[in-house]
């Protein structure tokens, strides 16, 4: 990602946010993101985001687990080291069910969480710019990316007209970087200095 210019406006009620999102999109402004303190149902559709495929990935990880468990146990008991356990069959499929099930769940859960982390670019020591300190508390923060065709003054005025509060302009890194939240990192502080 790169350093970009944004206009940031926050809303304190989702009832105001929804019509605002609609109007901002209709006016053709580019919404970078809307940050909310909790999952607001329907906001993803209002922003025109596509459905996530995370659950499909989970299914694929799950059947990988099923296949791994079944083929591994079958190979061990029939080919690698067939043991005579009380004269029982070498391929006792019913006895394989519990471990097969557990590995299905394990692969699916671990795989999905890893995929989630990767897609959202989240990990320990990952830092991202927080546009408004209360976006994880009680504010719904709309961030609009500025382009050549959208001067900051216009966007600010428009945000004001749709009910946003504390509208300001920020020039920040839009992606993530390795950093600590208790420090202003070089990358970030440099941009703030330029801005000021």
């Amino acid at each position: 990602m790169a350093v970009k210019k944004f206009v940031v406006g926050n809303f304190d009620d989702e009832a105001v946010l929804f019509p605002a999102v609609k109007k901002v999109r209709a006016a053709g402004y580019k919404i970078h993101d809307v940050y909310t303190p909790f999952p607001v149902h329907g906001l993803d559709h209002a922003l025109g985001l596509r459905e996530t495929s995370l659950h499909t990935a989970g299914f694929i990880y799950g059947i990988t687990g099923t296949t791994t468990a079944l083929s591994f146990m079958s190979w061990i008991f029939t080919t690698d080291w067939p043991l005579n356990i009380g004269g029982k069959p070498h391929f006792p499929l019913p006895a394989f069910i519990p471990i097969t099930f557990e590995l299905t769940v394990l692969f699916s859960a671990v795989g999905m969480v890893m995929t989630f982390m990767y897609l959202c670019q989240m990990a320990p020591f990952v830092k991202k710019h927080i546009f408004h300190p209360r976006q994880t508390d009680d504010q719904f923060v709309m961030v609009i990316e500025l382009t050549e065709k959208t001067p900051a003054a216009d966007v600010k005025a428009f945000l004001d007209s749709v009910g946003a509060k504390e509208i300001n302009e920020q020039t920040v890194e839009a992606g993530w970087w390795i950093g600590r939240f208790d420090r202003e990192d070089k990358l970030f502080s440099k941009q703030v200095a330029v801005n000021a």
Binding site: E102, V113, K127, T136, R183
Partner: protein, 477 residues
């Protein structure tokens, strides 16, 4: 905009006049404040117990499992009893976080975080028992199937004991992932309002850089839903597999087909009791009565009376089958050595605590009485411990050969080990209560406008309205 509406007949899940910021304040501020005296006292006692447990286990490892009072007749005693008891306690957390999520039970939001924490700590405690019971614990890794220099000689995939290894480790991993993914947004909340550098740093690391982006929330919702869907059969499978440790054997008293559902019901029963014990104290000390309301406590008491009664039916079914099967060994096991005989007292403690006493919860007044609930939660925990003791020891102490009949009482390292797991559990819980948001802040916010008291009161206008007028008014929005 659609109207979020829930009948005022349902009592609010969040009491008092709250807005989003107030919710954050109420739940996060205990993390930011200095802990009270009680916290230090509680933590010190827990750490002391943990140290005593560590000493008892060291003693056992040094001298061998012979220092336990197990013998040739009774090969499983307090250790496996405690193992099953702790695993069972864990089950309520997953039931609340996963099954109630699938059933769209809004009240779970108030209690799920603490209950899931309880699950994780309880499974950590449970895992200790089979591991240290191995005796030569430095060879514990032999339970893992990996290419080795012993042939390679693999583990026995037909054995329920090995199924347990997979079940418990999967259960622990999945519960931890589910819990931690839910914690990420709340850690970010703590981070963004942190006033000290250290707190900002630590919660910044713990929150993995969570921002609250709409796309991330969308994926987070999907992740939570699928993890709930996975955890639901998982939690049922875990105690089913634990019950297979017994049910697949040929010991009278163990060899029964009703064990899986009976164990799962018992697990949820004891788990809810433990949730009550913990939360009644937590809500009081952290001042969270508005979020963990009497309504929440009542809902959990309903689960307790339901699962307690299922367990009661299972006990009676066992007795009936022992007689109806016409098998002499089964009959003797239940009627002569379990309900009577030298260990008969434990059976009657179990019956009283698990089947008779929870029946008070048929009365609404009792379900909503905090003192009664707290005492009952302790009684149920004791009862469910005795259930496992009864199943394990009373089936073993009278075997097929009367000359090997024996009696069992634990030695001090066994008791010390058990106390040590209490130390481990409560040390973890005290740390959790101080440093983690004990209630899922983001989830409470998402139900606030449908189930918060001040928002519900606004709905009385609609409640009094004519249904046709309501439909007419809302249709145009």
């Amino acid at each position: 905009m659609h109207l979020k509406y829930e009948s005022t007949l349902r009592e609010p899940l969040v009491d008092g006049v709250k807005d989003y910021h107030q919710v954050t304040e109420d739940i996060i501020s205990p993390i930011e404040a200095k802990p009270g005296k009680l916290w230090y006292i509680g933590l010190s006692i827990s750490v002391l117990l943990l140290l005593f447990g560590a000493f008892s286990v060291t003693w056992e490892v040094y001298w061998g499992t012979g220092v336990w009072n197990l013998n040739k007749t009774i090969g499983w005693g307090w250790d496996i009893t405690n193992f099953v008891w702790w695993v069972g306690i864990g089950h309520a957390g997953t039931l609340i976080s996963a099954i109630l999520m699938l059933f769209r039970q809004g009240w779970r939001t108030g209690v799920n975080r603490a209950a899931e924490a309880m699950t994780i700590f309880a499974v950590m405690c449970a895992g200790q028992f089979p591991i240290w019971h191995m005796g030569r614990v430095w060879m514990a890794f032999f339970v893992m199937p990996y290419p080795n220099t012993r042939g390679p000689l693999w583990v026995n995939f037909n054995s329920p004991l090995l199924w347990d290894v997979f079940a418990i480790s999967t259960y622990f991993t999945v519960s931890l992932l589910f819990w931690y993914s839910g914690l990420l947004p709340d850690f970010a909340t703590v981070r963004d309002r942190a006033k000290t550098k250290l707190r900002k740093y630590l919660y910044g690391v713990a929150s993995f850089g969570w921002t609250g982006s709409t796309k991330h929330w969308q994926r987070h919702e999907s992740l939570s839903l699928v993890l709930a869907g996975l955890s639901t059969p998982l939690v049922l499978s875990v105690h089913t597999i634990v019950s297979f440790d017994f049910a697949t054997s040929v010991i009278p008293g163990w060899h029964t087909t009703i064990f899986p559902p009976y164990f799962v019901a018992g697990a949820i029963f004891s788990g809810f009791a433990m949730v009550q014990t913990l939360l009644i104290i937590t809500r009081k000390i952290l001042g969270l009565e508005d979020y963990i309301t009497i309504g929440h406590i009542e809902a959990m008491n309903k689960v307790i009376v339901l699962t307690g009664s299922i367990v009661g039916v299972a006990y009676l079914t066992e007795l009936f089958m022992a007689w109806y099967s016409g098998v002499q060994y089964e009959f003797d096991s239940f009627y002569k050595f379990r309900a009577a005989g030298p260990l008969g007292w434990s059976y009657w403690i179990m019956m009283t605590c698990n089947v008779i006493s929870p029946q008070v919860f048929w009365f609404r007044k009792m379900r909503r009485n905090i003192m009664v609930t707290f005492i009952m939660s302790i009684i149920v925990n004791i009862g469910m411990w005795f259930e496992r003791f009864v199943i394990i020891c009373t089936s073993l102490y009278r075997d097929y050969l009367p000359s090997s009949w024996s009696y069992y009482r634990p030695s001090w390292p066994e008791v010390g080990f058990y106390l040590g797991t209490f130390g481990l559990f409560f040390t973890c819980y005290f740390m959790f209560a101080k440093y983690f948001p004990v209630i899922a802040v983001a989830e409470i916010k998402s139900i606030l406008k449908t189930s918060g008291q001040n928002f519900k009161e606004k709905m009385t206008v609609y409640e009094d309205q004519d249904a046709e007028k309501f439909a007419h008014d809302q249709a145009h929005h």
